[in-house]
């Protein structure tokens, strides 16, 4: 009966509450569904359009600069959309709306964490990155330092972040696609790997950027439409929507055997913070990982080199922040819409009463509820396109780290044979694509909820401190930057392994046995990195340290004014 279904739905929803704080950003463990031809047709249309763009981009991609940065010819508005596209992954669209559907307000707290890093990046880094860098963030971090050690560090930081982020995306792609399209897991992973290689290999940054822009527009358009339909249903009254959601949650609790009083409390509980933030240390540490991780993600930092000037770089982040903030407001409405449209509709609940395909399907079912089968197909296609675009951006940034930082600068001392750097980046793209496919298949059904959180923690603890100190602190030296950077990198990885999300959830140790009890290592690993850089730099009085410090004035003048940077960008 209806109540029975509702009760089972509630139980399933309760079981699906993310165990780790970051689980909402990862899609996994879905069952295969019936083949969805509408979705596949729409996705095919997207692929055809993007392949056409890749062909056009390939004709323009001749030099290494074209490959890495689209020749610096992207406008601020376009780049803002592309950055937003990089950041709005399928997992954050489906995961955050699912988290809102399950626990209400906690989903909002979670998404806010992802937004607040952008102003910091704008105020302190954006312009300086643009003025100092050419292709990778290592150009900036190593500007006045000995190239080899700093580049090796930066490439390590980049590859670790890219690897974890990539695995999460590939596993998400496989799970999502068998769910949305009814294709096998491995087919989905291979399709993502193959298409991504085509975009990056032939179209480089130009194709990757346009794929990202198209996807961002489709995703924002689709999410806007869903939110509009939900709000329209409630006469554009938030109070009416929230009241209805509270009523649904209370009814589900009643059906689950709660007394009227308990049910009323359970209903109202979605309107305030729940269990997501436990202790203040976890809260602050997790907030730091998200906030400063944003300013250390290599595939995001790389985007600052695709615009022609500091002015355009600032416009990019302004647009990106606006779009991402708007997107998180939409996911909140979508999550509440899912409570009232999806959790109440037996059509979306399977035999055991759970949401068909798991709670990550909240937004997808809502698409069907408000827009019918065609719109369901559209949202499914957009979700796949989203993964594809994010994977392409990640691969490009990993390939740049290998070819520009390791090959051209470290191995060839900055003088690679003409054309060889571009060749190496294409070979690396192929290798990364294959590795991503293999890892995507290897990690099938593994608990990978920690991977995105680890990527942010490493970005915040290794890449960000080195970038920050090298640009803003005169006395920073090569030795200090490399020591502190590796301290942050190693400590963030080790502490994550010792934290409950890996130690207990992935490695299967008993609950409560994790040696490191907090959600995120960032508070500790970031502190360690900054202390490492500071102490080692202070004690460093070698000949190299004198060169490092003497180089600060010229670096600062260029980072503030961009004088000298124009040559770098006039590719």
């Amino acid at each position: 009966m209806n109540h029975n279904i509702l009760r089972k739905g509630l139980l399933a929803a309760a079981l699906a509450v993310p165990g780790s704080a970051m689980a909402a950003d990862v899609i996994q463990g879905a069952e295969k569904q019936a083949t969805n031809w509408t979705a596949i047709t729409m996705f095919a249309a997207f692929v055809l359009a993007t392949l056409y763009i890749t062909k056009w981009a390939a004709a323009k991609t001749k030099s290494a600069a074209d490959f890495y940065t689209a020749g610096g010819g992207i406008t601020g508005f376009q780049n803002g959309l592309a950055i937003a596209g990089d950041y709005m992954s399928a997992a954050s669209f489906l995961g955050i709306s699912a988290a809102v559907m399950i626990s209400g307000y906690d989903g909002l707290i979670y998404s806010i964490g992802f937004l607040v890093g952008w102003p910091i990046l704008t105020f302190l880094m954006a312009e300086r990155l643009r003025n100092l860098g050419r292709f990778t963030f290592a150009d900036v971090a190593a500007f006045r330092f000995a190239q080899t050690p700093v580049r090796i560090f930066a490439a390590s930081g980049t590859l670790v972040v890219v690897a974890f982020y990539l695995i999460a995306q590939m596993v998400g792609a496989g799970s999502l696609i068998q769910l949305l399209f009814g294709l096998d897991y491995w087919i989905a992973v291979v399709i993502v790997g193959a298409l991504m290689m085509i975009y990056v290999l032939f179209g480089g940054m130009t194709a990757t950027t346009w794929v990202q822009i198209i996807k961002a527009c489709l995703l924002l358009g689709g999410a806007s439409f869903m939110s509009f339909m939900v709000m329209w249903h409630y006469g554009f009254s938030p109070e009416a929507m929230f009241a209805d959601a509270v009523r649904v949650k209370a009814e589900l609790a009643t059906a689950g055997g709660k007394t009227a009083e308990e049910a009323a409390v359970a209903g109202q509980s979605i309107m305030g913070p729940g269990t997501f933030i436990k202790d203040p240390i976890s809260a602050i540490s997790f907030g730091m990982a998200l906030m400063f991780g944003t300013a250390g993600l290599p595939h995001i930092l790389m985007r600052f080199f695709t615009v022609p000037s500091a002015k355009e770089a600032r416009k990019s982040v302004m647009w990106a922040t606006g779009w991402i903030g708007y997107f998180y407001l939409l996911t909140f409405i979508i999550g509440f819409g899912a409570i009232t449209f999806v959790l109440t509709n037996p059509e979306f609940l399977d035999g055991s009463g759970a949401l068909v395909g798991g709670s990550n399907m909240a937004a997808v079912h809502l698409a069907q509820a408000v827009g019918g089968n065609v719109f369901l197909g559209f949202i499914s296609a957009v979700a796949f396109a989203t993964i594809l675009a994010v994977v392409a951006g990640l691969t490009l940034s990993g390939a740049s780290a290998v070819s520009h930082d390791l090959y051209a600068t470290v191995i060839k001392n900055g003088n690679p044979a003409p054309g060889s750097e571009l060749r190496v980046s294409r070979i690396t793209t192929l290798v990364l694509g294959l590795v991503a496919v293999v890892l995507g298949i290897a990690f099938k059904n593994q608990n990978i909820a920690f991977m995105v959180s680890l990527a942010f923690a490493v970005a915040a603890s290794a890449n960000f401190p080195v970038l920050f100190m090298s640009v803003l602190w005169k006395d920073c030296t090569t030795k200090g930057a490399v020591t502190g950077g590796f301290l942050g990198l190693i400590s963030s990885v080790v502490l994550t392994i010792l934290s409950p999300s890996v130690w207990e959830a992935t490695l299967g140790n008993p609950a409560g046995s994790a040696p490191f009890p907090y959600t995120s290592p960032a508070l500790f690993s970031m502190t360690l990195a900054f202390l490492g850089i500071w102490i080692v730099s202070k004690m460093d009085n070698g000949a190299r340290a004198r060169i490092d410090r003497a180089g600060y004035l010229a670096q600062q003048v260029r980072s503030e004014t961009g004088i000298g940077a124009s040559e770098a960008s006039s590719h």
Partner: protein, 102 residues
């Protein structure tokens, strides 16, 4: 860039004023953002009841406008910085550039 050019620019009063003003502004806004976000997080950590308290007779709680407020604040503060940097600071920067390269 030659070091003497860097030194010449560094001695330019326009450059010094640009550097001082922009860095001050950037840091003030950074601190404002840190206070708003960590204030919000600490409020959740220490006083969940306050955010879960209803505003009026309906189901609306203080947490909703506050959470949305943090999002809007983040967007606005970014816009505020970019507006001044792309206007006033870029004009100063252009002056420095003309002076340095003439």
């Amino acid at each position: 860039m030659q070091d003497n050019l860097a030194e010449r620019i560094a001695a330019d009063p326009n450059y010094q004023s640009l550097k001082a003003k922009r860095s001050r502004y950037g840091w003030i806004l950074t601190i404002a953002m840190l206070i708003v976000y960590y204030g919000y997080i600490l409020l959740i950590a220490f006083d969940k009841e306050m955010l879960a308290a209803r505003i009026g007779d309906g189901v609306m709680t203080w947490g909703i406008p506050l959470g949305f407020g943090v999002i809007i604040f983040t967007i606005i503060i970014t816009g505020v910085y970019v507006r001044r940097a792309n206007g006033e600071f870029d004009e100063l920067s252009e002056k420095v550039r003309r002076e340095a390269l003439k």
